[in-house]
């Protein structure tokens, strides 16, 4: 077995003609007898033929080649890898929920609708916004929903001249990409020397052509936009809307409500801040919240309560339309609901407080080794950089790979783009001092290695299933399938 794991065999390479896994009953009639020949498949698909045991071993062994939150500290900045409680796995998959068809009679899905409605209410309360849609399937999908909501709003007002979206250079790449998909021209602005929005630069580009200003709060260098209230005033004075990318909401959960900053709309990432697992890349869920006068433009349908009954309201003449075929990534929403129900008004602040405490602790302990790019208290994550003169040619990517060998997943690297050799570290509130101390120790050890034996860092990783991968080789002659 060890030999096979080492060889990284594909399922198709383990396939043996005629071997069977799961079987089904024999059909009453053959396809050839029911359909004309030209409707039928001509050749058998080249899929693996394996026993059930082979399949179980194959995927179990593959899983063991992953670092994951359940086994490793995962300080991936902006990704909020907090603990995903096991109870929510069980509860989100209860048959009552998982067997519900999206076109089931409404009377048969009152439990799901009640939960979704109550989740909306909870999200409204913790953000201060007036209405939420749970329809978007991910954060970027939420962004598109938000920007299209704004577009529908301006259209209803006849303000067709608003064709621009302003995005700071620290924004997630999804922000400009989203604005472009929505048919807007992207105006990039540079950040000030303190890592926050340069208000003068913003004022210069704000005009009656501005539809939306998109801000990530806290921003991607881990700092709170200290002038956000004035920025909101400037944006509103120009007749535009302020969109908050809520990917970093963990820094604020339970200590502040974005609506109070003057934010008009925001998305949340239920798969980050609300403890739903990432599943190796998804599914996520990116609910969008808006102030009252934008609610009518949200995607349809909306989950509403009529008397004691929960319904999907499709009668929304001003709605931007549908964002996906069916309403939301429900099983992700169920987990987020579970998460919020385990806090109350007196305890929710622990989320942001412990997240911020943990990030600052790491920042301060690593100060002399890998200093923060902006030397100021950070929020939920700290963005560190390299002291180039001490690095012996070692780069951030090398450090990331060496961390893997020390049993830690790597921070987000080379982002944000304005920070050279960036390492973005987000411990989240569910880690404790002992784990952070171990991580800091590993970072300090790597620093010593860089000084005394840089080669070992340069060659990392040495202890993973594969050595350093040449990513360029994959793009040159892409092999994307067997």
């Amino acid at each position: 077995m060890q030999e096979i794991i080492k060889k990284n065999m594909l399922s198709i390479e383990k396939s043996v003609t005629g071997r069977r896994g799961v079987r089904f009953e024999k059909a009453l009639s053959k396809a050839e007898d029911l359909l004309p020949a030209d409707c039928l498949r001509k050749s058998r698909p080249h899929l693996p033929e394996m026993s059930e045991l082979d399949t179980v071993r194959h995927f179990t062994n593959l899983s063991r080649q992953n670092y994951c939150l359940d086994s490793h500290f995962y300080p991936l900045g902006s990704c909020t890898m907090k603990y995903n409680p096991k109870a929510y796995d069980v509860l989100s998959n209860l048959e009552g929920f998982s067997l519900a068809h999206p076109f089931a009679p409404l009377a048969g899905v009152q439990g799901t609708l009640e939960l979704l409605y109550n989740l909306q209410e909870l999200l409204k309360e913790i953000t201060g916004l007036s209405a939420f849609t749970l329809q978007p399937a991910a954060g970027a999908h939420g962004e598109l929903t938000g920007i299209l909501t704004a577009k529908s709003y301006f259209k209803s007002r006849g303000e067709h001249q608003r064709t621009e979206v302003i995005v700071p250079d620290t924004a997630h790449g999804t922000n400009p990409a989203t604005s472009n998909m929505a048919g807007y021209t992207v105006i990039n602005i540079k950040s000030g020397p303190d890592g926050c929005v340069d208000k003068e630069a913003l004022q210069k580009v704000l005009s009656d052509k501005t539809a939306v200003v998109m801000l990530t709060v806290p921003n991607t260098v881990g700092l709170f936009e200290k002038d956000i209230c004035q920025i909101a005033e400037m944006v509103h004075a120009a007749g535009a809307l302020l969109y908050m990318d809520g990917a970093n909401f963990n820094a604020l959960m339970g200590v502040a409500k974005p609506a109070s900053f003057g934010v008009d709309m925001m998305h949340l990432n239920l798969h980050k801040s609300f403890a739903a697992p990432h599943g190796g890349g998804g599914p996520g869920s990116g609910p969008v919240g808006v102030v009252a006068h934008l609610a009518q433009f949200l995607p349809k349908p909306m989950v509403e309560k009529q008397g004691e009954r929960f319904v999907l309201n499709t009668q929304m003449p001003d709605s931007l339309g549908k964002m996906k075929a069916f309403y939301g990534n429900i099983s992700v929403c169920i987990r987020a609901y579970c998460f919020l129900r385990q806090y109350d008004g007196k305890t929710l602040h622990q989320v942001a407080e412990q997240a911020v405490l943990n990030a600052n602790y790491v920042r301060v302990l690593l100060k002399d080794y890998f200093p923060a790019f902006f030397d100021a208290p950070c929020m939920h994550e700290c963005v560190l950089t390299l002291q180039k003169e001490k690095m012996n040619g070692i780069r951030t990517a090398d450090i990331a790979k060496r961390l893997l060998d020390y049993g830690f997943y790597a921070p987000t690297i080379y982002f944000p783009l304005i920070v050279p050799e960036a390492m973005m570290i987000e411990p989240t509130e569910t880690e404790n001092k002992e784990m952070l101390d171990l991580f800091v120790e590993a970072m300090k050890t790597i620093f010593q290695e860089i000084v005394s034996n840089p080669q070992v860092v340069h060659e990392a990783p040495l202890l993973q299933p594969v050595k350093r991968i040449d990513e360029v080789s994959a793009a040159r002659e892409p092999n994307l399938r067997w």
Partner: protein, 440 residues
Amino acid sequence: MFTSNTAENEKEMLEKIGVSSVKELFKSIPENLLYPSFNLPSALTEEALHKHLRELAGKNKSYLNFVGAGWEEHFIPSAVNALSSRGEFLTAYTPYQAEASQGTLQTIYEFQSSICALFDMDVCSASHYDGATALAEACLASCRVKNRKKIIYSAGLHPHYKEVLHTYLKNVPEIILQEVPLKEGLTDQQALQAVLAEDTACVAIAGPNFLGQLEPMQALSHVVHQAGALFVAVVNPLSLGVLQTPGEYDADFAVAEGQCLGNAMHFGGPGLGIFTCKQAYVRQVPGRIVGIAKDKDGKRSFVLTLQAREQHIRRERAASNICSNEALCALNAVIYLTLIGPEGLREVASLNLSRAHALKELLEETGHKIKFTGPFYNEFVIECKVPASEVIEKLQAQGIAAGYDLGQVCDCLKNCLLVCVTETKTTEDLQKYARALGGI
């Protein structure tokens, strides 16, 4: 909940940071906005949470389900969830650090390969949100490939897909969307010919279409290609166990909802957007793709590749804004396909086909009218004597979800019921359905 620093930890940490309280770390937030009151229900312990969620789940009802319409009930072998729910898969992030994510990366490569084999297409992405958004992205990609602005689609597309298509495309400058009507339940080829022109980027057609009818995909693809446009097929992945594949009829893009491959229904989400295309368009694919690479020792390994298309590199010039996708649903799909293999796939698709036909015959024997006469897979339309909504209500009382009320799509179909039969329905279930439908 789930925070684990003790008071002693916190004290030591604050000392090291050099502040006297956690609150001091929030100084950059205007003080008057800090610590507002939160009106939340009382916190639940895990035990109380279990009780509460079970109560909510208990408020849903289960039906003998004959509703499909783009989302299907299928048997999911136990090994699918047993494997995909392993924490190693479930609690990993997008595999940015490839060396520590080979498990996820290889499963995505196998997913891409399996779907390419099933569809007979060259390239498959790591996944998209759902079938509808995958379709919208394929149409956008077609416009980029052809540098043309007109998108034609058949009225036989799922009505929700049409709505999503409009949401995604109506905001893109200069794009024109045009619908081609149906005739006798199939895309009207004459009408299609009439609107195909030099400015047409692509034509999107579903086979089977929303009424369950198998469109003549080969002929349609030919017509579209003759006009110099691209052919975008929307398919049912499981049906490809028996049906002609998008590769066989030369589709340029083929997209699908992959929920039917090992994913639970969950009231419509998460689903699995499947996005495939010909090799020539690989650089227009939205979102993640995994490819084979070599490590330092020359060993085969897997990485996210062709990232120059993506938002984190190209920002406003990216092929799409997609970042998170539906990786875990894709994992369910590849485990499902690996478990059943090519023979199981043929079996399950044949079962869907034959049981749906068995129900059709049963209903015809009892005097029911089947609206369309063309070939179909696992869905067909019953024309009732009364509005379909009334039929649904009547059967609901007997614990049966009778189908999808086509009156929602068009008043002209208000007596029509779209019924779906999957392998989960036994002969007894079919008889029960026919009896319940009785004389309506």
